[in-house]
């Protein structure tokens, strides 16, 4: 159907469906690759969603300034922005909208539920979907399963982010390695976590990995709290009564600001506070708010590799653009996703969805700024097994990578010095 008749029709029915005024697809227009960039820009997860958007925009600007996608005649990356409002129904509608506006690739969304809602759109409309941040395993695994069962022909959904289960495995591994490296032998670990989507993915993954690895230390209790909490003092008293050697908190930015000062106030004496994975603990704003309460805290997060000089430059540019924000998990992974996408498009030499999928499957990309366990590749589930978290520690009020050793910017401090 031609655009003209569609427009004419829409005008005729405009009274019922107020959609007139939406730009209509102009697929023929050359020299841009349209990418639907959909994140949780408003709602409860607005903060990380906005960071994702900012990181991706920085990357696209850099690629475009350097001449765009060479193999596509210097085509520029053009984003079609979407906001899920942290709601799944809106996520699906936004995906349809950006595709309608001509999006040839989708990226997003930070929230696992919102991301899952976009999966069927990507599969139905045959638009490759590169998940930049979202940890729930089933997002990709379920698609792989249905492709394997023959219910779908092609998998269009890929993810460059550690999955919930891989997060946990790494966390347990790093705990063991750090204890061994420092010659410590802590026994009692208390897990405290935000009982929201991300927090409980992390807690479950950590517990499962611990069950599988059977290390010398024990998880004596798991204390979840409703997120956002209004008060955590009783939770901390409860943890303290368990006489822990290690507190393993999984926090959101808001709960971190409650939990960490509370640990200090109530004089919970531990060898260290090591998070199996807390997004946002390392934000400049967080450090400014928490100050000494955050010193020596370790956090197992996907993190930019600051040993790479390029990362330093990008982080500085990002800070400049965002008014002082840290180049972090969200902004970093969204940034990398755009570069991976550029690499894929270079090799695909086309915006045909199946050509893009073929190129995605053959990806071996080493230009990422995050800490990786190897080049970016995609396994048969559509996940990158080399997307790994790193252990960072707040030292001298700065988040620094301390583990794995080869990415470490600084020597880790464990146990933490007594106050």
């Amino acid at each position: 159907m031609s655009t003209v008749t569609r427009r004419a029709f829409l005008k005729a029915t405009a009274a019922g469906v107020a959609v007139v005024g939406f730009p209509l697809p102009l697929r023929a227009q050359a020299k841009t690759v349209k990418v639907g960039l959909i994140h949780t820009v408003t709602g409860p997860l607005a903060e990380p969603g906005q960071a994702c958007r900012a990181g991706a925009q920085l990357a696209a600007d850099m690629i475009n300034a350097a001449g765009g996608i060479t193999s596509l005649g210097g085509a520029k990356i053009e984003f079609l922005l979407g906001d899920t409002q942290t709601k799944s129904d809106v996520a699906r509608t936004e995906a349809e909208r950006v595709i309608n506006q001509g999006a040839q690739v989708l990226m997003g969304t930070f929230d696992s539920g919102n991301t899952a809602a976009i999966v069927p759109v990507a599969q139905q409309r045959r638009v490759p979907f590169l998940v930049d941040v979202a940890a729930a395993d089933p997002i990709t695994a379920n698609v792989a399963k249905s492709v394997k069962a023959g219910q779908q022909k092609v998998q269009y959904v890929y993810r460059n982010f550690p999955t919930g289960s891989s997060f946990g495995r790494r966390a347990v591994q790093y705990f063991n390695e750090i204890f061994k490296e420092t010659g410590q032998n802590p026994r009692r670990v208390v897990v405290m976590h935000a009982n929201d989507l991300f927090g409980s993915i992390q807690a479950k993954g950590f517990k499962a990995a611990w069950d599988a690895a059977k290390p010398s230390w024990e998880i004596v209790d798991v204390i979840p709290w409703p997120e956002p909490p209004s008060d955590l003092s009783t939770e901390v008293s409860r943890a303290k009564a368990l006489k822990p050697d290690i507190i393993a908190p999984i926090t959101r930015p808001a709960s971190a600001q409650l939990l960490l000062p509370e640990l200090i106030k109530q004089r919970v004496e531990v060898l260290g506070v090591i998070s199996p994975g807390s997004p946002g603990l390392y934000e400049a704003g967080q450090i400014a708010a928490l100050k000494q309460d955050l010193e020596y805290v370790m956090d197992n997060v996907p993190w930019p590799n600051f040993k790479n000089p390029k990362t330093q430059q990008v982080a500085a540019e990002y800070r400049k653009r965002t008014g002082g924000k840290t180049f972090d998990t969200q902004s970093g992974y969204s940034y990398d996703a755009v570069f991976i996408l550029a690499d894929v498009l270079e090799r695909a030499k086309s915006t045909d969805p199946d050509a893009i999928v073929d190129a995605i499957k053959k990806t071996r990309f080493s230009g990422g700024l995050m800490v990786y366990g190897g080049p970016v590749i995609f396994n048969d589930l559509g996940d990158n097994p080399n997307a790994i978290p790193a252990m960072i520690q707040i030292l001298g009020q700065k988040p620094l990578v301390v583990w794995p050793k080869d990415a470490a910017q600084e020597k880790l401090v464990f146990p933490r010095p007594k106050r």
Partner: protein, 316 residues
């Protein structure tokens, strides 16, 4: 009026042939929220018992059919009725407690909010259905599993849902049940004095309403493919369910549909035009202002106003 209805139906049936998948998606959500609004309308509009906890029924229906499909292999075509029945049972419990103890007005509002919150908190802590991580449904696109590869199929599914609910409400409205509900809404004691078993009819309204809402849960699960307790049991969803019928005119047959046709596209347009720049949240401010404006300028809802306008024009 009849001809207008038939013409509208004809247009709705033909639309998928000509509009884009994006417009279809908007229409799908217009129909779906009109359906939910219509379901709410039975108890919240006609019977005047304001429930702000209807998300609980959607959540129970969605989880029931999704878990049965994924774990037991029961097709959601059947699961939707199991989910509806469970939601209806929950509605019966909440209704019985609320009505039996004579909770009216704001007290009933808070009872329903509290029950929905209890469901949300409990499901957040039930590991068997994924807890806070949520429950994920595999996308198969298999119609036997209530999944479709084509948005047009979803369009007709939600259209049928909306029309079915509207048909049920139309039937109720014309019968003793409907007249009694209206009497209860207007003055419960007077209705009681005229032989209306108010407890029984309020219970029936609650059960019909929660059953329908629970059936809608299956669509939510199969269309969006994941369920998170905070999303499907949360107050924001309950609010989404009630605002359309209220804006359209609660306790009227076409109010929920009109409300959905007004609000859903407006939300879409304001998100599109105000959601691009750096002013994250501006579109929701506009949406809030719109709701306030509706209350101030259409205090009886859009549909009754429309009817009066049409009548005035006819007379003129």
């Amino acid at each position: 009026m009849t001809w207008l209805g038939i013409a509208a139906l004809g247009v709705l049936l033909a639309l998928p042939a000509v509009v884009s998948s994006y417009v279809l998606t908007i229409l799908i959500f217009i129909f779906f929220y009109a359906f939910l609004g219509q379901a709410w309308n039975v108890v919240g509009g006609y019977a005047g018992q304001l429930s702000v906890g209807h998300a609980a029924f959607l959540g129970v229906g969605a989880y029931a059919s999704a878990v049965l499909a994924q774990e037991v292999g029961l097709s959601p075509w059947l699961g939707m009725f199991v989910g509806g029945a469970l939601a209806g049972a929950l509605g019966a419990v909440i209704g019985y407690l609320g009505f039996r103890f004579g909770l009216r007005g704001f007290y009933f509002v808070l009872l329903t909010v509290a029950f929905a919150e209890v469901c949300r908190i409990v499901v957040n802590n039930v590991e068997a259905v994924g807890g806070a991580v949520g429950f994920y449904i595999t996308f198969t696109g298999d119609p036997r599993q209530f999944q479709f590869r084509d948005n047009r199929a979803w369009y007709y599914v939600t259209l049928v849902l909306m029309l079915a609910a509207t048909g049920i409400v139309a039937l109720i409205e014309r019968r003793r049940f409907g007249v009694y509900l209206a009497a209860i809404r207007e003055d419960e004691s007077a209705a009681e004095a005229l032989g209306v078993d108010t407890l029984r009819y309020k219970m029936l309204a609650m059960i019909v309403s929660s059953f329908l809402t629970g059936v809608g849960g299956t669509f939510y699960a199969c269309y969006l493919l994941s369920l998170q307790p905070n999303a499907v049991f949360g107050i924001p969803l309950s609010v989404e369910i009630i605002i359309r019928p209220i804006v359209g005119g609660s306790g009227t047959l076409l109010g929920p549909i009109l409300g959905s046709f007004i609000l859903t596209p407006l939300a879409e347009v304001s998100r599109y035009y105000l959601g691009q720049g750096g002013w994250h949240g501006a579109h929701l401010i506009a949406y809030g202002v719109l709701l306030v404006a509706v209350v101030l300028f259409l205090p009886e809802g859009a549909y009754p106003r429309l009817v009066r306008l049409v009548r005035a024009r006819k007379r003129a």
